[in-house]
Symmetry: D2
Amino acid sequence: MSFNSYGQMFRVTTWGESHGPALGCVIDGCPPGVPLNAPAIQHWLDRRRPGASKHTTQRKEPDAVEILSGTFEDVTTGTPISLMIRNMDQRSKDYGEIAETFRPGHADITYWQKYGVRDYRGGGRSSARETAARVAAGGVARAALAELAPGLTITGYLVRMGEKVIDRARFDWAAIEANDFWCPDPVAAEEWAGYLDWLRKDDHNSVGAVIEVVARGVPPGLGAPVYGKLDTDLAAAAMSINAVKGVEIGEGMAAAALTGRANADEIFMGPDGPEYNSNHSGGILGGISTGQDIVLRFAVKPTSSILSPRKSIRKDGSPTEVITKGRHDPCVGIRAVPVGEAMVAAVLLDHFLRDRGQTGGVRGKIGAG
Amino acid sequence: MSFNSYGQMFRVTTWGESHGPALGCVIDGCPPGVPLNAPAIQHWLDRRRPGASKHTTQRKEPDAVEILSGTFEDVTTGTPISLMIRNMDQRSKDYGEIAETFRPGHADITYWQKYGVRDYRGGGRSSARETAARVAAGGVARAALAELAPGLTITGYLVRMGEKVIDRARFDWAAIEANDFWCPDPVAAEEWAGYLDWLRKDDHNSVGAVIEVVARGVPPGLGAPVYGKLDTDLAAAAMSINAVKGVEIGEGMAAAALTGRANADEIFMGPDGPEYNSNHSGGILGGISTGQDIVLRFAVKPTSSILSPRKSIRKDGSPTEVITKGRHDPCVGIRAVPVGEAMVAAVLLDHFLRDRGQTGGVRGKIGAG
Amino acid sequence: MSFNSYGQMFRVTTWGESHGPALGCVIDGCPPGVPLNAPAIQHWLDRRRPGASKHTTQRKEPDAVEILSGTFEDVTTGTPISLMIRNMDQRSKDYGEIAETFRPGHADITYWQKYGVRDYRGGGRSSARETAARVAAGGVARAALAELAPGLTITGYLVRMGEKVIDRARFDWAAIEANDFWCPDPVAAEEWAGYLDWLRKDDHNSVGAVIEVVARGVPPGLGAPVYGKLDTDLAAAAMSINAVKGVEIGEGMAAAALTGRANADEIFMGPDGPEYNSNHSGGILGGISTGQDIVLRFAVKPTSSILSPRKSIRKDGSPTEVITKGRHDPCVGIRAVPVGEAMVAAVLLDHFLRDRGQTGGVRGKIGAG
Amino acid sequence: MSFNSYGQMFRVTTWGESHGPALGCVIDGCPPGVPLNAPAIQHWLDRRRPGASKHTTQRKEPDAVEILSGTFEDVTTGTPISLMIRNMDQRSKDYGEIAETFRPGHADITYWQKYGVRDYRGGGRSSARETAARVAAGGVARAALAELAPGLTITGYLVRMGEKVIDRARFDWAAIEANDFWCPDPVAAEEWAGYLDWLRKDDHNSVGAVIEVVARGVPPGLGAPVYGKLDTDLAAAAMSINAVKGVEIGEGMAAAALTGRANADEIFMGPDGPEYNSNHSGGILGGISTGQDIVLRFAVKPTSSILSPRKSIRKDGSPTEVITKGRHDPCVGIRAVPVGEAMVAAVLLDHFLRDRGQTGGVRGKIGAG
């Protein structure tokens, strides 16, 4: 049992607070023989790094990762991989005034009620800075997947920011890396830029978002019944990300509105195995991957740290108003994209190893001969 | 690690296939001294039982539970509680013809691809019959919660069936038990009855649903950062239920459309502790319960077993059409209501015990003196 | 977390009390495609069965195992295997008088102190009847090992009964099955028979024993650093057996008396890989199997249930003397032999699957070219 | 599942290699509100530190611990505690020549066979340097136990070095800290000093040892049936320590030689609860603590790194002789004493929290009224 770990065979334990000396993770169970060094992980961290555009927090963190164990001559050894990222830009003074109050929508009050003690600087352990450790672990998972399941790709992007949604007719994979929002719709991206500027500077407000992550090239057979379902673990992985309030696989909540006839993904025999005429299932049936694209979506609530005053109380019960200064993302959903990708990578690798352990990769054949 | 267990301190392992001799569960970690006997569990099983109305499967199963261990003189002893339910109405011949084909939307194909062997009778392990074991375990969890957190209630209901949604203005707690759909809107319930009749008999179709489960009287402080979040475990619990494709806490996916100002649940001091002017958070902040109502919602896809023909393939790759006879729920969402309640009960008890283990129930005080 | 489970990938959860209706286990993670039926498991249970000779308890239990799930047409499906054994010969009245007292050397007093409730009939959950479930699970593990590691054998035997030890010069594998004590020294076996008769009938006493279990044909590479050591898991498995007080691997406690020069197992190159000129290590180095025989030894204390009076107290604190009637083994070590074998089988299979999951069976080569 | 973690509620994950930049651990589940700072942990590390006397390795490591997370203002917050110790005195060149050979008695060969890659510098992950992380974690466990179970003490000492054993008639608790061997027999300690000098300098040899760890003041009720036994977890904890080959609780292996009459710890009523006239059980019955002293013993083999040549092979299979230079303990058992204490502390705290979670500390009363 662990409150701060996820995964079974590829097991990640994260640690660290927003304003402590460092944060990091320990990864246990990584296969041996995987090429890995710090730059390979840094590549992914740079995508999540704060301060990369004017649309994210202005906290300046290089998020430079150190590999403290588990590799030898740039190859994993099969022993625990310890990764550390030093915090460089803590401005603890920003938080002195909130030591005795509870910011609405934040974990301040529940941490206090549960533990009777809290590190109030930047939210302590509840800060989204913890997600840097997830991205680092995801980088390791990607390196292992590159060896074990070549051709598997994982791509995340924003499909909604507040009331504004992308037009799927304009979906362009190449656009995703070409704007500050990981937005596959270049027209929407432009509109969002102006909207977010106004929201932050003029409205002193924040906004939610929906992230979609697609994994292509996933072999069939990953996942398991009943509580070891691939979608169960993906849902838990997504819901564990800060500020996430909803998770969908394939059709998601919209599946409720469909009939059985409409929802069935009919099966045909293709040259390399079964094919489907649609993907309502999001690539998972009975908790096990079909070989179709795996489609995960999750909703991130608007950040609770805003410059507009909200009513709250102090520890002593007296009323107060809270305006959260400091440096915050007006739309945390943006930086949640690389985090979501990382979680999907970790879950897929974990299930790859679990499946290999139990079944040895033996598979039921489909097709003649 | 286990594919068929959930929970950490209150740990449930289920077993059994749709058409095997029996199904059941083993519950480890239940507190000692809890009054418990078979009728207390049967009460909850009767709510999920198939064949209870014309709107659910006509398979006749008494679902009579036997307690095989873990109690002595109608009190739990703290040792494993083994529960067994005999299958009584297996019509395996219904399934002979699908041994060589894969029903679209079912786990037939993925089980085959993963394991290279499958019990095709009624879906085997992938059948929703497994949820009887969940409901039994939930009955045990409720008995323990009645001792540990008196006043805590858990209530589930349908808020959507296909395109039809309830009118929250007509929400009536008393109505939930008064119709075949666990529907809190009596007007909607009547409409749904006719719709479902038509769907089943005339349209040979099925339909999805959205279930909402509310837990009231949950003490603050349950849950934990980061991967031990209460909402993470609720999301996993819901997603592990057959046919679930989406999960929401509080505002859920709609949180993405809100601004930070709108989404903040402002805090006030009440006579018994903190109060909130809204509950967008669904009773959970930073993964830890606030003391507000916990609100979980999940979407169930339409059952894939329908009388309308769908295109598929055989094991040898040749094309075929599948019409699923047998006895199936036209809307599995209905019977998912007691299942959802049971999962919430198990998760809350588990977190109660985990919290008591780590913190001993010591809490940060809010208020003068 | 679970108090009643062991293993990670091959995960066994046992349940049941001495005088409840039944006992059993649920096995999760068994590989699919393993030939398995009830007689294959019964074979191993019959070796542990009570009442098989005059030297063991006279409780008459057929220990007939039922497979309730997890197989289809006599092959494992990869889903949970539920095994049940009905208790047939409960004489609860034997135990009425101990409801208010605590038998010295028994778990009566600690169960009461911990749980505040206990099933006093036959020791309830603390009874060695639980080990029937272990042997059943071990039967499943052996069936899987027969597929995955053909040639691997596991053999247990008694090397000590009280003050009497075997003469290793007379060690005869064939003798083990030829006497009531699983004793590899036929001369000792004869002497033990007379001794145990006298001890039970005349001395109203019991005696301890040392069991040795040897696994031959174990591939190198099973186990892992640091808390996943093969010997760590073997030690835990042995120590979890009722009445066990000591566990040894290879030289065991005697290793403390050796010098480094004497203890080194020197390495040579053989036709099929590395060979060693001795096996002080018991087949495990750094927690990982070497390919040599794995040698586990454990000591079982004398059963505490004897006809000689021992001083104790009642629940109310008043003094009393306890004479334990009922039907008990004068030397529980005898029936611990098949239990020890079963635990070794489960641990080896578990590590086989864990190793396959993490490393995929890729191995560092030793030898030219 | 994790290869490098132990404990359930108080969960410790260690990482690091002998010659990597650092080693450390992450502790999850520590109760909040425990006073803790680096000096409190350093106190325990200094007892294990290499180079503290001429009888241990001359590697100079300050073993200075850094707390990277999990405390705020010198109090634990309930979030993960990350501890790091930098390696300062790596002489990797000592190990260059063993890159292609396997040291007899070492994990060199099994790591290579399992992983196909290894960090050969100082044994990499298999080095006893890992135990520094255990001692640090044990320091945290002790700090928590001081709050939760005041009066509980844990003391380890050497009872055997090679052929030389202590005389229990001379047992003196005060002597333990007064010599270089944690030896409670001051006469033996003096003899051992001369013996070890000769062994190291003249005989180029090493020797094994037996460590005993006693925990006094342990409340009754810790531990659980069947695989969650306190002695099971203590056995695993001890066996996981480098070079350990045997583990005993109470009478240990000698229990096998006793009769039931001799082995019974008779029970009497004392002023504060039950008392026993002996402690053959080592303070544990049925896996649950009785309140008597818990007595754990374990045997450590002689270190395999000696200056005397031993036969071995190279990776290519060719024969060679190995003389292990470098800086090694002639008797690793000495430094295993604080390691054993640390493991006992971690196990006891873990079981304290697990018991509190499940039972809430409610206990069956013994005595009138």
